[in-house]
């Protein structure tokens, strides 16, 4: 009787002990017990190639940073002339039409002075385009603005520099102005606070508009190159991966890849300066560096439902 009980007990145990194994394989996921402190993985050359892991050699390079600003185009104040009749009187004749290009000194209209009854010519003070015309022959000129001439050969772009970018923007920086398909390269000519009440500074950029592509009050985007530094060691931005609280690059050594934590300097659009941690000449992973990070961290990758 006792033996039987023992058998029954054995069977009962067999039954219960291994419940986990039958339908609970997930808990048995591999848990590598030792985490080495130097994170290193081995990936055979062939596998690495198939996985699309690419490498490059760390070395000197230019770190370029750019900032996107928005703003609008404006004409220079000196490039706009508002013409009035000096001595009011009837307009005798008008020589130009709205939209005509005029040269400096070109006659625009003839006006007869009320005081002297003398006729005199109204001449263009600057070269430019008639953008407004309020004078027709026979009209009384009065004190009105008769013509507005504007010269848009050179426009300004007024980029708004908000506080966040203010320290980075200085005079002389290269900037690419774009609006839709229009693009032109220029540089920041001046930087000044905006009129009172406006929470930004204005960076003025001269815009060559001799082909007349631009108009005023266009909303434009300015990509300012705020830094172009030659750094002794730079790496491709794709190489940088966060790993256990640090930023690392993966240094290739044969078929071994070692996570090397690095101190970053200035970060550019494509490359980033390495202050310490990586020496020039070392081969590091660029494309698909994520795979190596994934391989190092994968011991923790579990699947919980």
């Amino acid at each position: 009787m006792k033996k039987i009980l023992r058998y029954a007990g054995a069977a009962a145990l067999a039954l219960a002990v291994q419940i986990a194994q039958a339908y609970g394989a997930e808990t048995q996921a591999k848990t590598p017990s030792d985490h080495q402190d130097t994170h290193e993985v081995r990936i055979p050359e062939k596998t690495a190639r198939e996985a699309g892991i690419e490498t490059a050699v760390a070395g000197p390079g230019d770190v370029r940073r750019s900032v996107t600003l928005y703003g609008k185009t404006a004409a220079d104040h000196s490039a706009i002339a508002h013409l009035r009749a000096r001595y009011p009187g009837p307009v005798v004749s008008v020589q130009v039409k709205l939209g005509d290009q005029v040269q400096k000194g070109q006659q625009l209209a003839v006006i007869e002075s009320n005081d002297s009854l003398q006729r005199y010519s109204l001449l263009a003070p600057i070269s430019g385009q008639i953008i407004d015309k309020a004078a027709s022959a026979g009209e009384y000129s009065g004190d009105r603005e008769l013509f507005t001439i504007a010269n848009y050969d050179e426009l300004w772009v007024e980029l708004q520099v908000f506080a966040g970018h203010r320290p980075e923007i200085t005079r002389g920086q290269r900037v690419r102005i774009s609006a839709g398909n229009l693009q032109v390269d220029s540089s920041i000519a001046s930087l000044a606070p905006a009129a009172s009440g406006q929470p930004y500074a204005i960076a003025r950029v001269a815009l060559d508009n001799r082909d007349n592509q631009w108009t005023t009050d266009m909303m434009v985007q300015g990509d300012v190159v705020v830094g172009a530094f030659a750094a002794p060691v730079v790496v491709d931005n794709r190489a940088l991966q966060p790993l256990r609280g640090a930023t690392v690059v993966f240094v290739k050594n044969g078929d071994r890849y070692r996570a090397q934590s690095v101190e970053l300097g200035r970060r550019g659009r494509t490359v980033t300066e390495i202050v310490s941690g990586l020496n020039a000449g070392e081969r590091y992973v660029t494309a698909n560096s994520y795979l190596i990070k994934a391989d190092i961290e994968k011991s923790g990758a579990g699947h919980h439902h």
Partner: protein, 1057 residues
């Protein structure tokens, strides 16, 4: 009672036989309704509530959706527990009900509750209940693919989006109609969307905000009906169509007016067909594909439904555009057919063997056929019972059926009848007249019916402990126990009614009851051996005792496993990557992996699901992929004999070289069960409940550290909840206020710009596609540039038109929880550990003590110890009560039968003796102890008792008739040699095919059959020798026969009612 039944059966023998026709009819009718599957369904009664929340991060999902849903469900009747998961864009609450709750009832309750809380959820979010399916539900999968070079109607090559459109609008509607399909789930490809992607600079130019664009699109995209007018007797319906249909129309939607000129969408934005932000992808052989899964309605017949889906898919193919192909990649029918073929083969071969043995040993064809007829009849009755109790036919439920056991009762009856008839004929030298024959049949049957009834009853009783199993084990083994018990009971009834009736009808004329050579030889061998054994009885007894001791030691050296895992034939493989891995990255890694897998010559197809499908039946994050490896038939393997485990090892070896993946190997159905049952499946699971996730993680870490120092710990790990990289756009409130903005408008802008906002639908006939407004892809992906995203200021602001995002918000990268798990309405985190080479109980005690001392929890946090140790505790507690109780019941039955504790105990010695053979057989075949083997031991105990019963009752009968002790023993043993040999032979031979089969599913049955065969061999041998010896020893002192067990007087004490 028994007598009157017997008498009635024999008198009304033709009626009884015609009743069997009714039984056959019912059986066949039931067979058509019997649901057939490969394995029993072990899913609990659960309802999943999924809420899709596009763009919501885990914490928001938890707070805004999961919590209200969970709260609404608390207090539902019959609720067992709830658990929930909050992931990116998805809340899943799983509600588990008590066993036996009606699923439809449960869903109804939930539906009512959900209706109430709809108002409490963020607008536009709709909680939905998961499909009405169980873990066995995913019965059919297919891929939609384009032939190389195939082009769609627009002249472009089919891409994943075009294929998805075909799946959604051509295939799915047709397949959803298939009877028994409750849901068609899709993963892979992209939902087609119309994308309006405005250029921020152009918007600034016109002073237009995202909200303006969204508003314009919303207000210019509807058809309206306007009632009707009557004119000249006609009724004219009035409608105003305004829906956008084409990209050009979207282009021309006017957003606003600037200086009298309309600003159209085309002036500020690109409109194009775009891809959704998808949460799941499907791949096949390294390429992106679209994968459809047909889910079977609960309780349907998976084989039939899968076949219907396959047929429907054939028809669907005809409706597809040229160049597009659907292909079934997983079909449950294959597995079910294979498993059922295995079972059928086993049963059929077993039945044939049984019949052959019967014929050989009885030497009478008619008698053999009558006995064998019990097999199909009992089977039909069992099928009827299975349909009525809702048990499906599968490897487990049919796995323990042994026709040998089933016919045991009938064998004894027929054997005795034929012996008595033969004897009678020999004395008369002529066939018996009818009434005499009937009387003789009655007496012959009555003589042995009690022991045989008791035997069958006892076999039935020993299955009782199986009924006390709960949980998964219960679900696996209840069907087995139910089926076996039903088969035994129906056989019992049959051998009480049909068998005597048939004997009475068919065993007419000259009874050719030849003692065939085998029996004669056995008898001539047995007698001297028995005599010798009686002489050296003490030696033999101590030998037997030694054997028992040896085998109980041997049993402890056998390995253990829960149940042998059913080999589904295919491999499922989880590929796990680090949390935070993007879907596209995962798909790339998948391409590499699948290429590697496809290199194996054994692999036919490889396909995979990454992330979450459309209906989140299994909400996987994008860093987890389920790979399915469909293997070729073994004949096509380079080495057809390669064990699957070996193949898996080879595959594991090959894929472990790929960087960045972790793997878990499982099988399709097994995987699905895992997903659904979930819960803690380690030996010890410590759940920490509380509010603050950081605190939970910290506490879990401490507890993990403590656990790792406890002796015997293995695989200790904690649930990974962290590691999702998040880009936070934190509003600067004062800056916002300065610009006249508020947090909401900022968030709205960011959400629309990055995640996109749905601003309506574009209809193409029935097909409808979302119209989405969001930033161009180049800008969305440019995280550095996001800082400069212009935030438009309110109209007329003195401060200009816009402010860059970085002025009014702080952008930061932070790690965040990748999921929040909750249980019973509280956040929880689980630390699990397995225990090796140490007693689980003491381990748990030490863990409890040490954790309480070394890792105290702050107030408001509490622990819950769970895991399989709990089940182990309760199972062993229950079994340690039930197993002795069962044995006591058996003993009680025996005592009732014999009125003598001594004799009952003598018979009982058969049990350990039988077990020795079982243990030896396992050891010989190098099999571990498992529940399947345990069931074998259970069956074995029954057979052993039956054997002893048959033998002993006859000896006692002889004693009562006045024989001397030794003479009675020898005569009794000799007379019963044939039935004992027969029952033993049929029972063991019936299992031989099962023990030797290597087909699909055979691994589940093999241990059971092995145990029974080995055990019966040993128990028979020992019954034949040890039992007489014991009887001799025990009854040495008495010369006067004790009263009672005889065939002719039937004291009420052992009547079976």
């Amino acid at each position: 009672m028994i007598e009157s039944i017997l008498r009635l059966s024999i008198e009304r023998r033709y009626l009884v036989l015609s009743l069997t026709l009714v039984l056959i009819g019912i059986g066949i009718w039931s067979y058509q309704r019997l649901s057939i599957d490969a394995v029993p369904d072990i899913t609990n009664v659960q309802v999943q509530i999924n809420t899709k929340a596009p763009g919501y991060s885990p914490l928001e999902v938890e707070q805004r959706i999961t919590y209200p849903v969970e709260t609404a469900l608390s207090g539902l009747p019959k609720l067992a527990y709830t658990r929930s998961l909050s992931r990116y864009g998805l809340s899943q609450v799983t509600v588990v009900f008590e066993e036996g709750t009606d699923l439809y009832f449960a869903r109804n309750l939930i539906n009512t509750r959900l209706a109430v809380i709809k108002g409490a959820l963020p607008p536009g979010l709709e909680p939905e209940m998961g499909p009405l399916a169980t873990g066995l539900g995913e019965i059919f999968m297919y891929t939609v693919e384009a032939l190389p070079g195939a082009r769609g109607p627009d002249g472009k090559l089919y891409d994943a989006m075009a294929l998805r459109e075909i799946q959604d609008w051509i295939i799915k509607p047709q397949l959803s109609l298939v009877r028994g399909v409750t849901e068609l789930n899709t993963i892979g490809g992209y939902n087609k969307q119309y994308h309006v992607t405005p250029d921020p600079q152009k918007m600034l130019n016109f002073g237009i905000s995202m909200a303006d664009v969204a508003e314009a699109l919303r207000r210019n995209n509807t058809n309206r009906g306007a009632g009707f007018v009557e004119r000249d007797g006609r009724q004219l319906l009035v409608r105003s169509p305004g829906q956008l249909e084409k990209i050009e129309q979207i282009d021309n939607v006017v957003v606003t007016n600037r200086g009298g000129v309309p600003v159209k969408i085309r002036d500020i934005a690109e409109v194009a067909i775009g891809k959704e932000l998808r949460t799941g992808a499907a791949t096949r052989d390294g390429r992106e594909t679209v994968l459809g899964t047909a889910m079977m309605l609960v309780g349907e017949n998976s084989r039939a439904v899968a076949r219907n889906v396959a047929n429907a898919l054939q028809q669907v193919q005809g409706s597809l555009p040229p160049g597009v192909r659907v292909e079934a990649v997983y079909d449950r029918t294959t597995l079910v057919d294979k498993a059922i073929a295995t079972v059928q083969k086993n049963l059929l071969e077993g039945a044939l063997l049984v019949i052959a043995v019967l014929f050989l040993l009885l030497g009478n064809l008619r008698a053999a056929i009558i006995t064998a007829a019990v097999i199909p009849l009992a089977m039909l009755a069992t099928i009827f019972g299975m349909v009525k109790t809702g048990v499906s036919a599968n490897l487990m439920s049919l796995g323990a059926l042994d026709f040998g056991l089933i016919v045991d009762g009938a064998v004894i009856v027929v054997e005795n009848a034929i012996r008595r008839l033969g004897e009678a004929q020999r004395t008369r030298q002529a066939p018996l007249p009818l009434d005499e024959r009937l009387d003789l049949v009655f007496r012959a049957t009555n003589e042995v019916i009690r022991p045989s009834l008791f035997g069958v009853l006892i076999i039935t009783v020993v299955y009782i402990p199986l009924f006390t199993l709960t949980g998964v084990e219960g679900k696996m083994f209840h069907p087995m126990a139910i089926t076996v018990v039903m088969a035994l009971l129906s056989a019992l009834v049959l051998s009480l009614t049909v068998v005597p009736a048939a004997v009475a009808i068919f065993l007419t004329g000259k009874i050719s009851e030849r003692e065939n050579r085998a029996i004669t030889a056995a008898k001539s061998l047995y007698r001297p051996l028995l005599l010798a054994a009686l002489k050296v009885r003490w030696l033999l007894l101590s030998g037997a005792f030694a054997l028992v001791l040896f085998c109980s030691w041997l049993a402890t050296t056998l390995g253990t496993e829960f149940i042998p895992q059913l080999n589904e034939g295919d491999i499922a493989l989880h590929a796990l990557r680090i949390p935070g891995t993007g879907l596209e990255q995962a798909v790339e890694m998948q391409a590499l992996l699948e290429k590697k897998l496809a290199e194996f010559p054994q692999v036919d197809k490889v396909f995979a699901k990454t992330g979450t499908p459309e209906v989140a039946t299994d909400p996987m994050p994008p860093n987890v992929t389920d790979n399915f490896l469909i293997l070729k038939p073994r004949e096509q393997w380079p080495d057809p004999g390669l064990p699957k485990a070996e193949l898996v090892a080879q595959i594991e070896q090959a894929v472990s070289q790929l960087p960045g993946n972790n793997y878990e190997f499982t099988q399709p159905i097994q995987m699905r069960f895992n997903e659904l049952i979930s819960g803690v499946r380690a030996d010890l699971g410590i759940k920490i409940f509380g509010d603050n996730l950081d605190q939970l993680v910290a506490s879990a870490g401490k507890i993990l550290a403590v656990l790792q120092t406890i002796e015997g710990v293995a695989d200790a790990r904690m649930e990974q909840v962290e590691g999702l990289p998040v880009l936070q756009v934190v509003p600067r409130r004062t800056a916002l206020a300065r610009y006249g903005l508020d947090v909401d408008s900022l968030q709205e802008l960011v959400a629309t710009a990055i995640g996109g906002a749905s601003v309506g639908l574009i209809y193409e006939g029935d097909r409808r596609f979302e119209l989405v407004l969001r930033l161009p892809e180049t800008l969305r992906r440019d995280i550095d540039g996001l800082k400069d995203l212009p935030v438009p200021l309110p109209d007329g602001s003195q401060l200009g038109r816009y402010v860059p995002l970085s002025e009014v918000a702080r952008l930061e990268f932070v790690p965040a929880p990748n999921q929040v798990s909750r249980e019973n309405g509280k956040r929880r985190i689980v630390v699990t550990a397995n225990v090796r080479e140490r007693d689980l109980g003491s381990f748990v005690d030490e863990a409890r003590r040490r954790i309480a001392e070394e890792a105290p929890l702050p107030p408001g946090y509490w622990l819950d110890y769970g895991g399989t140790f709990e089940q182990l505790e309760s199972a062993s507690k229950r079994l340690s009560l039930v197993v002795p109780l069962t044995l006591a019941i058996i003993l009680g039955l025996l005592v009732m039968a014999f009125g003598s504790l001594k004799d009952a105990l003598i018979i009982f010695t058969g049990v350990p003796l039988a077990l020795t053979g079982g243990v030896l057989a396992l050891w010989l075949r190098d099999m571990p102890l498992s529940i399947s083997a345990g069931v074998g031991f259970i069956a074995l105990s029954g057979v052993a008792v039956l054997n002893g019963l048959v033998m002993l009752s006859f000896i006692r009968q002889l004693r009562q008739e006045g024989s001397a002790l030794i003479a009675a023993i020898i005569d009794g043993a000799m007379t019963r040699l044939r039935p004992v040999l027969m029952t033993a032979l049929v029972a063991s031979l019936g299992f031989v095919p099962m023990a030797l089969n290597t087909g699909t599913g055979a691994e589940v049955q093999r241990p059971l059959a092995t145990v029974v065969i080995g055990g019966i061999l040993s128990s028979t041998l020992l019954t034949l020798f040890v039992l007489p010896i014991l009887y001799r020893i025990v009854h040495r002192g008495e010369e006067s026969a004790p009263a009672d067990f005889t065939a002719d007087d039937s004291p009420a004490s052992y009547q079976v009612e």
